[in-house]
Homo-oligomer: 368 residues x 2
C-alpha cells in the first residue's frame, strides 16, 4: 500500500477535553483539523463560487458520488480528468459514497448483500450500485478522500435489523477497501470507513471494531443527525469516538449546527460536513451569536428594515464586512439572487470561523 501523499498527524492534544488539532495531508494540499467542509453536492456549493469559499478560508469541500454519477456522469468526469478540473476547485475534495442518498432520495428497489438496486430520483431509471462500483465512480471523480458504500437505516429501526445491517455494511466496506487497494492510482486517494450501528452503543462499538481491524485511512461516524435528538446524538458520538484509534482522522457526517460542532470537537472529532449553512441561507436564515447564545434568525423580519448592523457583529465574512441587515432584507424581499449568495457566504464562513475559534482554544488548552 503506497499512500505517501496522505498522512494524518495529531499536532496538539487538549489537556481538558478529548479535542485535538491535526494536519491531514492530501495531494491537493494540507487540511488543518478540526475542519468544517462545505457541501457542493453536484460540484458546486450552492449559490457560492469557489473563490468565495477560498476567501472565507475553506480548506476542503464535499461532493456527492450519487449525484455526480447521475449528472454529469462518469464519462464527462473522466474526460475532464476528474471533478477538481471540471469545477475549478484545486483544493482537496471529499466525496460521500452515495449510500445516504440511495437510501433517502432514490426509490429503493432491492438491497442484497451483493448490491443495492434503486430508481434514480431524476428520471426513475433503474440503477445498481455495488461497493466496487461506488469506488470506481469515486476514482473517476478523483476526490482526495473517498467513502465506502454503507447501508443507511431510518433512526427508528429495531436492534436486530440494525445488527444485521452493520454486518452487511462492514462486508461492503471490506469490498470497497479491496477495490480501492487494487487500483493503480491508489496513492492519490484515501479511503475512510463509515461506522454505523443506529442508536445502539454496543452495535456502534461492534461496527467500529470490525472496521478498525480492516485499517482504513480514517473513520467516519454515519447515521447520526437523522432526527434522534441531541442527547442521543451526543451520547453516541462520545461512545463511538473511543473506539477509533487516536492516530486516525475522525469524521462526523452530516452535522453542522454550531453547538453540535463545538460539542463534537470537544469529543475528538476532526471533520464535519453539512448542507445546513447553505440550505438555511437559501431559506433566508442566518447564524449569529446573540447574548452569548447561538441563534438562527430570519432576514425577512420587518424589524431589520433600517438595521445598519451586519448579520453578526463579530463575524468577519465578506457579507458582514460589506452589507447591512437592511440591505440583505431588501434583496431577500425582492427575490434578488445575490441575497442567497451573500447569506450562504455568511453561514458557511460563520461555521468555519467558529471552528477556528475553537482551534485557538484547543491550542491554549494543549500547552503544558
Amino acid at each position: 500500500m503506497n499512500q505517501t501523499q496522505f498522512s494524518f498527524t495529531v499536532t496538539q492534544q487538549s489537556k481538558t477535553s478529548k479535542a485535538r488539532l491535526g494536519v491531514l495531508k492530501t495531494p491537493h494540499g494540507d487540511i488543518e483539523t478540526p475542519v468544517f467542509m462545505p457541501v457542493g453536492t453536484l460540484g458546486s456549493v450552492k449559490a457560492m463560487l469557489p473563490e468565495m469559499l477560498l476567501n472565507e478560508g475553506a480548506q476542503i469541500i464535499l461532493a456527492n458520488t450519487y449525484h455526480l454519477y447521475l449528472r454529469p456522469g462518469v464519462e464527462v468526469l473522466d474526460s475532464f480528468g476528474g471533478l477538481h478540473e471540471f469545477m475549478n476547485w484545486h483544493k482537496p475534495i471529499l466525496t460521500d459514497s452515495g449510500g445516504f442518498q440511495v437510501f433517502s432520495l432514490g426509490q429503493l428497489n432491492k438491497v442484497t448483500d451483493h448490491s443495492v438496486i434503486f430508481r434514480s430520483h431524476l428520471d426513475g431509471s433503474l440503477i445498481e450500485l455495488t461497493p466496487e462500483k461506488v469506488i470506481q465512480i469515486q476514482q473517476s471523480i478523483g476526490a482526495d478522500i473517498i467513502m465506502p458504500l454503507d447501508e443507511c437505516l431510518p433512526p427508528d429501526v429495531s436492534k436486530d435489523v440494525v445488527a444485521k445491517s452493520i454486518k452487511r455494511t462492514t462486508s461492503w466496506e471490506r469490498r470497497c477497501l479491496e477495490q480501492h487497494l487494487n487500483k493503480p492510482g491508489i496513492h492519490k486517494q484515501a479511503l475512510f470507513a463509515i461506522i454505523q450501528g443506529g442508536m445502539y452503543e454496543d452495535l456502534r462499538e461492534e461496527s467500529a471494531k470490525d472496521l478498525v481491524a480492516l485499517d482504513f485511512f480514517g473513520y467516519a461516524i454515519g447515521g447520526l443527525s437523522v432526527g434522534e435528538g441531541k442527547d442521543s446524538m451526543y451520547r453516541l458520538i462520545q461512545s463511538t469516538v473511543d473506539h477509533i484509534p487516536q492516530t486516525k482522522p475522525r469524521y462526523l457526517m452530516g452535522v453542522g449546527e454550531p453547538v453540535d460542532l463545538e460539542y463534537a470537537i470537544s469529543q475528538g472529532i476532526d471533520m464535519f460536513d453539512c448542507v445546513l449553512p447553505t440550505r438555511l441561507a437559501r431559506h433566508g436564515a442566518f447564524f449569529s451569536k446573540v447574548d452569548g447564545m447561538e441563534v438562527t434568525s430570519s432576514i425577512k423580519k420587518k424589524e431589520y428594515e433600517f438595521d445598519k448592523t451586519p448579520l453578526d457583529v463579530n463575524c468577519n465574512c465578506y457579507t458582514c464586512r460589506s452589507y447591512s441587515k437592511a440591505y440583505l432584507r431588501h434583496l431577500w424581499r425582492n427575490k434578488e439572487l445575490s441575497a442567497m449568495t451573500l447569506m450562504s457566504i455568511h453561514n458557511v464562513s460563520y461555521l468555519m470561523q467558529l471552528v477556528k475559534a475553537v482551534k485557538k482554544k484547543i491550542l491554549q488548552e494543549s500547552k503544558p
Copy 2:
C-alpha cells in the same frame, strides 16, 4: 450653477466616423466613455456582486428610481445617506427616472400636465409622481447622474399624439431642471435630459432643440429599442445625435445588443444601459462571436456535454477564464444558482470588453 464635481471632455474624435472617446468626471470617479452601464434595478445587478462588476471593469451602474421608491423607499435610503452606501457600490451610479417603468409596469390611472398617477405593480397602491418628486427621490438615492420624468409612449402611436407628448415631456423636464437647480447639494448630481419623439425624426429634432435650449448636463435618447426594428432605430439614432451638442455626453437608453452598441458608438453615442446581458443569462443564453458574427446561444444544448471550451474563446471574463461550457451546462441543468451568476458575469463583461475593443479602434482612427 455649481457643478464643479462634474465635467465631460471629448478626448479623441475618430476621423472616419462620429465616434469619440471622452471622460465624464463625477464625485464617485471618472468614467471613460463610451461606456456600457450594467443595470441594477433594485440596487443589485441581478445575480452579481459589486466585486464581480469591479473585477470585470464596470465603471458605473444604473439603478431605477421607480423600483427604489417602492422598495426600500426613500426613508431607508435617506437613513443610509443614499444608495451607494446601502448597496456597497462606491463608483458612479445613474438612476433612470422611473418614467419608463410607470408607463410599462404600473397600471396607469391618470396622466396630466401636472403629474402621473398610477398603481404600484407590487401592491396596487395609488401613487402620484410629479417631475419635482422624481428629482427629490433621486436626491435621496444620491445617484451621480439623474434623469427627468418623461412620458413614454408605445411605438405605434400617431404623430399628433407624439407631438403633444413631447411638449408635455419638455415641460416636465424643465420642471425637473428647476427642482434640481434649486437644491443645496446640486454639485453632487448631474441631470440629463431625455429626448423623445417616437419614430418621427422631425419630432425628435424638435424635442432635442427644446431641451438643448434648456442646457442640461447631458442628453439621453429615450423611447428607442421598443420593438421598432433595427432600421428605424438606427435611422433615429443617426438623425437625433446631430441635434445634441458635441460637448455634451450622449446616452442611448435601453440598448444593449452587441451590434447595436457598435453602431451607436460609430454615431457618437457615449453611454448605454440594458438589462439584456443579465436577463439573457438568467435564461441560459450567452453572447459570443462565432466566425466573426455576434451570436446569442443557449447553454442548455446537449452538444456542450463534453465541451471543454469557454463560452467565448476570446473572452477574458472570470467565467471564461475558469469554466467550460460542459460545466456551465451541468450547473444549468441542475438549477444551480451559480450558473446564473457565472453567465451574468460573462454577458456583462462581454459587452464591456466589446466597448473596450471599439475604444481601441477609435483611438487609432483619431490619430492625425
